[in-house]
């Protein structure tokens, strides 16, 4: 019964979204406050319906209701509780439901922050957002219904894909979707501005927190996915330039550009048309990612069961929204009042350079990801565009951007002085260069790129630190006063510095992978395998039987320069229901580096294959991403965003409610 109620609530949400789409847009056009006021109410109702529907599906999973097809295909009564919950979105239908749930949640949050958003803008924004909701609800209801029943009910489920039976599934998709879907709000605000034909610094101030929040979540989602792939797939890579990874990287790059361009718009009332275009493109790239993952045009770890009908439907949605919004842009953008131009050497000039490099880098990823698809359609020739392509095109565009980053961060608004700025960074540059030379001398004969990359990362971290220090302290200031001044700096200044330092940490982590060591061998019990300074000894192999899998666990003792450092276990599992084997890596963290081992098949002579890696500083890749997201979060708490946009005095209620 509850399952049918969930299905019905979803249909109800579709009807309510239609109201949320039509009435407010009409109201904004007719300038009728009563009609515009329908927007927040209906947005909340849509969210309530979808949330109920999602809970109904979750309940079916928790109860292992095997009369529901989706539960039969993706669950099993013996599955641990956490995977019963996360399994709800571990499949195509359920993850689409999570997608619209988050979409509706964002709509609801826009609806309750009514005091900080002008009424017209809110009505138009929620109307545009409802159009996205309608499209995806139609998609779910017509092609991907998670509530379909099976008669007769199955006795047991087919279990979840074992690769997904991991805590990563509980965290990675929700974070990623909050990021992807969060950009729908920037998109809706952009379309609303175009419909209204008016855009100003207030608009930028309202949109910025949404973009920044979505960006921070997307950063976390991508980093989490990368770490998950690293430990779950058992071969030690953290980024594969897989088309699906690129599908998440493209909106991240465009979103990063957007976060920066809205600053210019807010501070200097410039770059308006470009910012609007960027908001549209960012969400279009999110939709493109959804299409690539779910249409079956790609083969990847992430692809779901292929159904041509679904692919066509999502392609339709993609064309409708990308085409529609770009047409709207082409029609209305020339009417927007252009902001002023500004000096090339200035903070805003530097942010334009940032946008230029990020957008171009995003374009190379786009070409590398879609070219093989286009070529196959046109010539039937199958090619693969892999890491060498992206290393050759993406890195040369990102490295100059990173080199310029501390300079841009230090430049003043309006009229910057390039030499003066460079002077403030002499020390930072000198220390980083010295560190690079020292590392190079110590690792002479090793990979050249590692010291260079680490020097670059160090330069970014120190450059950010320098920014805070020079703003708070000058020669002769007592430390206590400098500390007070530093604490008094705007939160956005701290957020910027922290996020940029995070970029530096990630760069160091990536560069250090060049020093990684890999060794492969066949080991019998008691034998050792050496990889660089580290060594493992196979102690024993233990067979185990768990609720939904059997495994052989190899226990390895790790030695470093002759000392015993600890033991790790790496497993070969067989998930019984699906008959599917998986490998679980054994990882020992030493400082910021990791010793990583995984096992292969047993050999005829009784030995087993072992792959051993030492990855120095590898954790910095993800710690850096976490720091970036934290920086974004701190910027979000900045006073000027917290108090929201200025509104006419009469609209301020007795207790002003914060925007977030």
């Amino acid at each position: 019964m509850l399952v049918e109620a969930g299905h019905f609530a979803l249909a109800l949400a579709l009807g309510l979204s239609l109201i949320q789409f039509l009435v407010p847009l009409w109201g904004a056009r007719a300038n009728d406050p009563v009609l515009m006021a329908v927007a927040p109410t209906s947005a909340l109702a849509v969210f309530a319906c979808i949330a109920f529907s999602f809970l109904a599906l979750t309940f079916a999973y928790l109860n292992s209701d095997f009369s529901v097809l989706n539960v039969v295909q993706n669950s099993h009564s013996a599955k641990p509780l956490i995977y019963k919950i996360s399994g709800v979105w571990g499949n195509h239908e359920g993850s689409m439901l999570l997608w619209v749930l988050i979409l509706a949640l964002f709509g609801a949050v826009v609806a309750v922050s009514r005091n900080s958003i002008p009424m017209r803008l809110q009505a138009n924004t929620l109307g545009v957002q409802a159009a996205v909701t309608i499209a995806f609800l139609l998609f779910i209801l017509t092609t991907s219904n998670p509530f379909t029943r099976v008669v007769p009910a199955a006795l047991e489920g087919q279990d979840l894909n074992p690769l997904l039976q991991d805590p990563g599934l509980a965290i990675h998709p929700p974070l990623l979707y909050i990021g992807y879907v969060g950009f729908s709000i920037s998109f809706a605000f952009a379309c609303a501005a175009l419909i209204d034909g008016r855009i100003d610094a207030v608009w930028a101030r309202i949109v910025r927190p949404w973009t920044l929040g979505a960006w921070a979540f997307l950063t976390l989602g991508i980093a989490m996915g990368s770490y998950w792939a690293y430990y779950e797939l058992g071969w030690g890579g953290w980024w594969f330039w897989d088309p699906v990874e690129n599908a998440s990287l493209m909106p991240w790059l465009a979103g990063t550009a957007l976060v920066h361009s809205t600053v210019v718009m807010e501070k200097r009332d410039a770059l308006k048309v470009w910012t609007i275009l960027l908001a549209i493109l960012t969400f279009s790239l999110s939709l493109l990612g959804t299409f690539l993952v779910r249409s079956g045009v790609l083969t990847s770890v992430h692809s779901f069961a292929v159904d041509p009908e679904r692919g066509t439907f999502i392609l339709g949605i993609l064309i409708l929204f990308v085409g529609g919004s770009l047409a709207l842009f082409a029609w209305r953008a020339p009417m927007l009042k252009q902001g002023g131009l500004f000096a090339p050497v200035s903070r805003e000039g530097a942010l334009v350079v940032n946008n230029l490099f990020l957008a171009t880098a995003c374009a190379t990823v786009f070409i590398g990801t879609l070219y093989p698809l286009a070529l196959e359609v046109l010539t039937a020739e199958k090619i693969s565009v892999g890491a060498p392509f992206f290393n050759f095109t993406f890195l040369p565009l990102i490295v100059p951007l990173l080199l310029l980053l501390p300079l841009g961060q230090t430049l003043a608004w309006k009229r910057g002085n390039f030499l003066g700025t460079a002077q403030r960074l002499y020390a930072v540059f000198g220390i980083s260069l010295l560190a690079t030379v020292v590392m190079f001398a110590f690792t002479y004969g090793g990979p050249v790129l590692a010291p260079l990359g680490i020097g670059l990362g160090l330069y970014l971290v120190l450059g950010s630190l320098n920014e805070i220090v020079t703003r708070a302290w000058s020669k002769g200031t007592p430390l206590a006063a400098a500390w007070r001044k530093a604490r008094g700096l705007p939160r956005s200044a701290w957020g910027t510095a922290i996020a940029h330092a995070g970029v530096g940490l990630t760069v160091i982590g990536i560069a250090a992978t060049a020093w990684g060591i890999e060794a492969i061998g066949s080991l019998k019990v008691g034998e050792r395998l050496k990889g660089g300074d580290y060594e493992v000894r196979l102690e024993r192999v233990i067979p185990r039987v768990e609720a939904n899998y059997r495994e052989e666990a190899a226990v390895l003792t790790v030695f470093g320069s002759g000392r015993e450092l600890g033991t790790i276990e790496t497993m070969k599992r067989l998930y019984v229901t699906r008959g599917m084997p998986t490998t679980e890596a054994g990882i020992l963290t030493i400082g910021l580096g990791q010793v990583y081992a995984s096992i292969g098949d047993a050999q005829p002579d009784g030995s087993i294959g072992v792959r051993l890696y030492h990855k120095p500083l590898v954790l910095l890749i993800w710690i850096g991403s976490l720091v970036m997201a934290i920086g974004g979060g701190i910027s979000l708490t900045d006073r000027r965003l917290r108090i929201g946009a200025p509104v006419p005095a009469k609209a301020i209620p007795p207790h002003a409610v914060p925007a977030e």
């Binding site: 894909n161 690769l163 797939l233 058992g234 071969w235 594969f240 079956g296 083969t299 990847s300 770890v301 992430h302 692809s303 779901f304 069961a305 292929v306 131009l341 500004f342 000096a343 090339p344 334009v352 350079v353 230029l356 490099f357 171009t360 880098a361 374009a363 190379t364 070409i367 590398g368 070219y371 020739e381 199958k382 090619i383 693969s384 565009v385 892999g386 060498p388 392509f389 050759f392 095109t393 040369p396 565009l397 492969i520 061998g521 066949s522 070969k572 699906r578 008959g579 599917m580 084997p581 998986t582 490998t583 995984s598 096992i599 292969g600 098949d601 050999q603 005829p604 294959g609 792959r611």
Partner: protein
Amino acid sequence: MTRKQRRLTLIGVAGCVLAVALGLVLYAMNDTIVFFNSPADIQAKGVQPGTRIRLGGLVKEGSVQRGADQQITFEVMDAEAAVKVNYKGLLPDLFREGQGIVAEGILESPGVFRADSVLAKHDENYMPREVADTLKKQGHWQGEANAAPKTQ
């Protein structure tokens, strides 16, 4: 600076960055792209030894030999030809004789291939798409229900 000069500066910088990016992409397209070939394609297209390719097909039954230190050889075949593959490393979890795989590496001579990575499917009822297409083309497709995730 006048308005016009400022605008020209911006356009100039943007043009330079875009031109560099375009140059890099075009160069990389020539140099770093790897073509997919089935064993039959290697003969038909005359792929030169020393070329980096992706080789896809079925692992021939009974051809897998494991040597010392994870040195593995096996044959990848399609309906018309077979190629011997040398690989050092751990095979993916779902590597099986008689099933589809994709290997990337260097063609050493027309019948011998040295792989540096081997990809198999990612769950039990899936065939790498390229391999499935080749078999369909050659008329040996037996149909696999529910194609789903791949590799690696």
